[in-house]
């Protein structure tokens, strides 16, 4: 009996397998229910906007009325957070433009003339609602809420009719997790209300509620990922319920124990369900590495997104050629300066000077040399953001009279005079045939080298990924202050800690800080450098770019003193103090478009020291600093063959 039973069971399994493979039975997806829920949430948010508009119109100059305003606004934000992981994924641009973008003016895209839109949306309203005297802002509040209602209308009408696929649900969930962590719990999107922890909980609850609908399908596939996700989500929600104070929230623990595990399990669920990924849908380059399972994975961001380099061009030969070029002073007019002249690998590719030495050997260029490590993660280059692609960055250095003082024609002529260089280009770029030593291959080699100087592998990253068991307490405290109380993470976004905006990391930001010209605090003056306003881009000639500078990465900052675009501060302690007092406004300057909070951060001495400890834990130059041991020879120019690697000065 027993044997027969077993056989029949085996037969059944076999039959079932045949049945399944023959019919490929479609498995009902929950996406229709998810759509229904989305529709409901969109409608709820719509209603709540109208409610809040009434509240603003009825606002009185009384404590209870203002209390109601604040309560109703927080409710409006809750409704937004409920719909946000899907809405901010599907209607990313319009939501950023009109609903939940930074409270700053912006330039109209693709217009025939320069046109500026005033700040709008929830974050702008947030600052008024939680200002000292919201009643004084009544008219502004009504106008902003009317605008919100107006602009939400087409978003609503488009989104309620949206048809979407399981892939998009999972992408929305995973990008929602990145957004919740980098822009939510950091306080970025609730600048004054700071109800960020509760809002993060709402987002996680909504993602859980949605993904849970896939559990029957996961079970049908004999996957335990659904179970794991359920346990993880419940833990995380519990964690957020019990640890809900903005300042004391342990963002590192939350990242390690909750954010990353959810992020990883969501991908596992998608794969267990046989749901396609973006790579099967479009050949377009993606900025995120969708298969990454940790926000601090070395390859969390696709480094090839930002330049014309791609993984079919990039290889060891191309990178090595790029490295030779980087350290070769033959690139400059007098054969004495190389890229490494201002970007010394020992100082994380900076030069330790306030402002870098100019070509003439006596004067300085106008700004401080930034690190090149992880510089690739940007869509704009230079402190004033004047170059828009890494490939185009070099040109400014090459042509500048203060830097290489030459041009591509001269450089290519020199390189062509070296048999060794000709051979190296030929080997590195066989796909370009006879055009293997041209401006584009020259640029590609440099791009490949600079791109190779990237990835997140500091002690801190390793700890986040669980590769090392512990990290110093002051580093943990410092990170939590960085990402919380001190608001550093609202401009220096995790994990790049530069101004490239999550969750897609496609767009670089600049900020107006009001950096002083000198450290003299008695006769303090704002540095006269116009920054982005002076970048000579006719489409960026707007007042709010006066004194605006690109947000640099703080990775390797311990090696890159002095600091700021003008090198005004010698130590990280000075930098922290500058932010603590409220930047230029705090120093008493007129900085009408300062984007840094004006008020004192009220950091204690211990907190400041912790911040510095955290920043120092972001040092990671391992394997990146090796210089070439020799440079290619010039057979007919023996006098060039003694040129020092990295240049003379």
């Amino acid at each position: 009996m027993k044997t027969r039973k077993l056989i029949s069971f085996a037969l059944c399994i076999a039959f079932l397998a045949i049945y399944l493979s023959a019919f490929k039975s479609p498995v009902e997806s929950p996406s229709k229910n998810i759509q229904k829920n989305y529709h409901n949430y969109l409608t709820e948010f719509d209603k709540e906007i109208s409610n809040f508009l009434e509240t603003t119109k009825n606002l009185q100059d009384s404590r209870s009325s203002i209390k109601k305003l604040q309560t109703d606004f927080l409710q409006l934000r809750r409704e937004f957070k409920e719909v946000s992981f899907l809405l901010e994924y599907f209607a990313a641009q319009s939501t950023k433009d009109h609903i939940n973008g930074a409270p700053l003016p912006r330039i109209e895209r693709n217009a025939g003339q320069l046109n500026v839109f005033e700040p709008e949306g929830l974050q702008t309203i947030d600052e008024f609602v939680f200002s000292e005297n919201p009643y004084a802002e009544k008219d502004a509040l009504i106008k902003l809420t009317e605008k919100l209602k107006l602009h939400y209308s087409p978003i609503f009408r488009y989104e309620v009719g949206r048809l979407f696929s399981d892939r998009e649900v999972f992408e929305a969930a995973r990008f929602g997790i990145i957004r919740m962590y980098t822009l939510g719990v950091s306080g970025f999107d609730s600048p004054a209300s700071k109800n960020s922890i509760e809002e993060a909980k709402i987002v996680i609850e909504e993602i859980f509620r949605t993904i849970k609908l896939y559990n029957p399908l996961l079970e049908a596939r004999n996957s335990d990922v659904g179970e794991k996700l359920e346990i993880q989500f419940k833990n995380s929600i519990q964690y957020l319920a019990t640890n809900n104070d903005f300042d004391s929230f342990n963002r590192l623990e939350f990242l390690k124990d909750h954010v990353n595990p959810i992020f990883k399990l969501l991908l596992e669920a998608q794969q267990a369900l046989y749901i396609e990924t973006i790579y099967e849908v479009t050949p377009a380059k993606q900025s995120n590495n969708y298969l990454a399972t940790n926000l601090f994975a070395i390859d969390f961001i696709n480094k090839y997104y930002y330049s014309s380099l791609n993984n079919t061009i990039d290889n060891e030969k191309v990178r090595e050629l790029g490295r030779l070029l980087f350290f070769d002073p033959i690139l400059s007019a007098n054969n004495m300066r190389s890229c490494a002249s201002c970007h010394n690998p020992k100082l994380a590719f900076t030069d330790g000077k306030k402002k870098s030495d100019a070509f003439d050997g006596n004067s300085s260029v106008s700004r401080n040399s930034p690190t090149i490590i992880n510089a690739v993660y940007a869509d704009k280059y230079f402190h004033d953001m004047r170059a828009s692609v890494l490939d185009d960055q070099f040109e400014h250095v090459i042509l500048s009279e203060d830097e290489f003082n030459t041009n591509y024609k001269e450089i290519l002529a020199k390189l062509n005079a070296s048999k060794e260089y000709r051979a190296l280009f030929k080997e590195a770029f066989p796909q370009f045939g006879k055009q293997n030593l041209e401006k584009h291959t020259f640029k590609l080699a440099l791009v490949a080298y600079v791109t190779s100087l990237s990835g997140f592998n500091s002690e801190f990253d390793q700890y986040v990924r669980g590769e090392i068991p512990a990290i110093a307490k002051e580093v943990e405290r410092g990170y939590n202050i960085f990402m919380g109380k001190a608001s550093c993470g609202t401009c220096h976004f995790a994990p790049t800690f530069n101004g490239t905006v999550p969750p897609l990391y496609q767009e670089s930001e600049s900020e107006v800080l009001g950096v002083p010209a000198t450290t003299d605090t008695i006769n303090a003056m704002i540095d006269s450098d116009l920054g982005r306003r002076g970048n000579k881009n006719p489409k960026e000639e707007v007042d709010f770019y006066y004194f605006s500078f690109k947000t640099p990465t703080i990775r390797n900052i311990a090696l890159t003193a002095p600091y700021m675009h003008n090198g005004v501060y010698e130590t990280l302690e000075e930098v922290v103090d500058f932010y603590d007092v409220g930047g230029g406004v705090g120093l008493g300057f007129e900085v009408p478009y300062q984007t840094l909070p004006f008020d004192n951060l009220s950091l204690t001495e211990q907190e400041k020291a912790d911040l510095v400890s955290f920043m120092e834990a972001l040092t990671d130059t391992t394997g990146l600093t090796a210089m070439p041991t020799e440079l290619p020879k010039f057979e007919n120019k023996p006098e060039w063959n003694n040129r020092p690697i990295g240049g003379l000065y």
């Binding site: 490929k24 039975s25 009408r157 099967e280 849908v281 490939d391």
Partner: protein
């Protein structure tokens, strides 16, 4: 066990073929696939003709620097085609550079590059013809000298090709209000002295203008005629008004010119030359659809130079009709005029002032706003997608040729069908005859990516280039044929066809950095072979409900008889492409080879891509 089977079968049978099924395994068995579909090689061949920043242009002696050869400016936009009836060469291409950049040799501001092309008889491919010009310059690419003739230009955007003989005008967009912005900290146009028109042997021949002294910025934003044969500028068209010009067309009478302004409000204007071919004198008109007496053209006194400097306020005073950003203008063989109105999300506030001052709204905007339950001058009025307009000079009728979109529903009801093609913010426009059939070449320049402006779900913001068969009555975006050879992320501009119907020329401007060389530069591209292909392939689907697929080798799309989810597997049975709820699948990025295509109910066909 039996019960289990039953319930499973019941699920399989009763489940509707709904959207978002998870039905494509990562790998499949490829053995049993009897039906074979073959995607023939594309009949089209692509050539890169002109690379900005790389190809060298021959310059004239400028700013005290001698003539020489320097890397061409970038930001390619308009392409003018001028036929050469006197030789077997095809003619000249004139390429705009939409920028303002100081350059010691090419000249400050924007610019234009011209070169001559011929067709290689055996392959039909395009070759560049070396030339020696009258001023002694010789080479392949030539810089049009503006700085020494009519004064620098800025943001050379669209332009005009004469229907008669291929005379070329370049348009200066990005309207300027002061000289400091032209100077741009020394990076733009460095000579900021007042400008006296027509000095040093460069008389414009326009009576009202020659001898006038104007601020430097006022010498920008005109239509500027050039001679592509000699690579020199001829005159700024001071008698057509100073406008944020984008496009225009010279009609076959060689007298009438239609132009449009890229602004909100933008005006549609007309110039009629006194003598055919002589555009230095004639009358200027602005379009007013509701003009008394039925003639919609109101004359603008262009003998008053102030009127020319302040064209917009004159248009308002004449109660002209307002449009929402007019881009390019073209005309078909029958003499109908078409122009793109690219649209702007909420234009209400941008023209409310002019409306109050007497200008009038175009009727289609009034109708749209009414349908939206608002008025066109209200902030709530939406114009996300733009459209192509048609004007018939024979009847003075103006109508929408094709509306962008599909448009948003006005209520919260889901759309009845999922759109497969979106027409958003049309910009470049020209008419082209291929094998006896006339098409509009329509190019997008997206104002944004939401509200359904781009195909959903890929984050792909490619601006597309479409052909629209002009014989299709009341066309919708579904009638557009996409040309699938455009680099991702690029703004596609300048689309113009060769008169023999073989080659489409276009520019790929400020492309996404993610494209490999040369597509990471601004490039002029030629695609040849349209005459050898049936551009508008009509699929002969059976009426039955079976899974039917027709390949379109021109657009590199698979077209299916019904909306379905489909997956494509490679010959090893590995899933390589998934498309949801589509009637068309773009396979332009798949390497040649053997594939399996499967629909949502498991029907498989072998697919050979050649």
């Amino acid at each position: 066990m039996k019960k289990f089977y039953t319930s499973l079968a019941a699920i399989a049978l009763t489940s509707t073929v709904a959207f978002g099924q998870i039905q494509f395994d990562p790998t499949i068995d490829t053995s049993y696939t009897p039906d074979v579909i073959t995607m023939s090689p594309s009949p089209l061949q692509t050539q890169v003709l002109f690379i900005g920043g790389v190809d060298m242009v021959q310059t004239t002696a400028t700013y005290g620097n001698p003539a020489g050869a320097y890397p061409a400016k970038q930001w390619h936009d308009f392409i003018g085609f001028t036929p050469d009836p006197s030789s077997s060469d095809l003619g000249w291409l004139s390429v705009n550079h939409e920028m303002v950049l100081a350059d010691d040799n090419i000249g400050d501001g924007g610019g234009m590059t011209v070169f001559k092309i011929a067709r290689e008889a055996t392959t039909d491919s395009i070759v560049i013809v070396p030339q020696t010009l009258g001023d002694g310059r010789s080479g392949e690419f030539f810089n049009v000298d503006f700085a020494n003739t009519v004064g620098e230009t800025g943001m050379n955007c669209g332009g005009i090709i004469s229907k008669v003989d291929g005379r070329i005008w370049t348009a200066e967009e990005w309207f300027r209000g002061n000289t400091a912005s032209i100077y741009d900290g020394g990076n733009g146009v460095r000579d900021t002295a007042t400008f006296t028109i027509g000095t040093d042997g460069n008389a414009s021949g326009i009576t009202v203008a020659d001898g006038q002294t104007i601020d430097k910025y006022q010498n920008f934003n005109w239509m500027v005629e050039i001679d592509p044969r000699e690579a020199v500028a001829i005159r700024k068209q001071y008698n057509w008004g100073r406008q944020p010009f984008e496009g225009g067309v010279v009609m076959t009478d060689n007298r009438t010119v239609y132009t449009g302004g890229d602004a909100t409000p933008g005006y549609f204007s007309k110039f009629v030359a006194t003598t055919p071919g002589d555009f230095t004198s004639g009358n200027l008109y602005v379009y007013k659809h509701d003009n008394a007496g039925g003639n919609p053209w109101v004359q603008v006194d262009n003998s008053n130079f102030n009127n020319m400097l302040k064209f917009d306020s004159v248009a308002v005073a004449l109660s002209a009709t307002m449009f929402n950003r007019i881009e390019w203008v073209t005309a078909d063989n029958s003499g109908k005029v078409y122009f793109t109105e690219t649209g702007r999300d909420n234009p209400g506030g941008r023209w409310a002032g002019e409306l109050a001052d007497g200008a009038v709204l175009a009727p289609h905007h009034i109708a749209r706003a009414t349908a939206q339950g608002t008025t066109a001058d209200d902030a709530a009025y939406e114009d996300f997608y733009g459209r192509v307009m048609m004007y018939d000079p024979a009847t003075n009728n103006m109508s929408v040729k094709i509306e962008g979109g599909p448009d948003l529903p006005q209520t919260g009801n889901p759309p009845s069908a999922y759109p497969s093609t979106h027409l958003s913010n049309p910009d470049g426009l020209s008419a082209w005859e291929v094998n006896g059939r006339e098409y509009l070449i329509i190019q997008e320049d997206l104002n944004g990516s939401d509200y359904g402006r781009v195909p959903d779900g890929t984050g792909n913001r490619t601006c597309e280039i479409f052909l629209l068969d002009l014989t299709i009555p009341n066309p919708t975006p579904d009638d557009l044929l996409r040309i699938a050879v455009v680099p991702l992320g690029a703004e596609v501009t300048g689309g113009v066809g060769s008169p023999d119907g073989k080659t489409l020329f276009f520019n790929s401007q400020h492309p996404s950095s993610s494209n490999p060389y040369p597509y990471n530069n601004s490039v002029t591209i030629a695609i040849t072979g349209f005459d050898k292909s049936t551009v508008g392939v009509t699929e002969n689907f059976n009426d039955d409900d079976t899974f039917q697929v027709f390949p379109n080798p021109v657009s590199r799309e698979l077209r299916m008889n019904k909306v379905s989810d489909v997956a494509i597997y490679n010959s090893n049975g590995q899933r390589v492409l998934v498309a949801r709820q589509v009637k068309r699948v773009d396979v332009s990025h798949l390497d040649a080879g053997l594939y399996i295509i499967m629909d949502e109910t498991g029907n498989k066909k072998k697919l050979i891509i050649e």
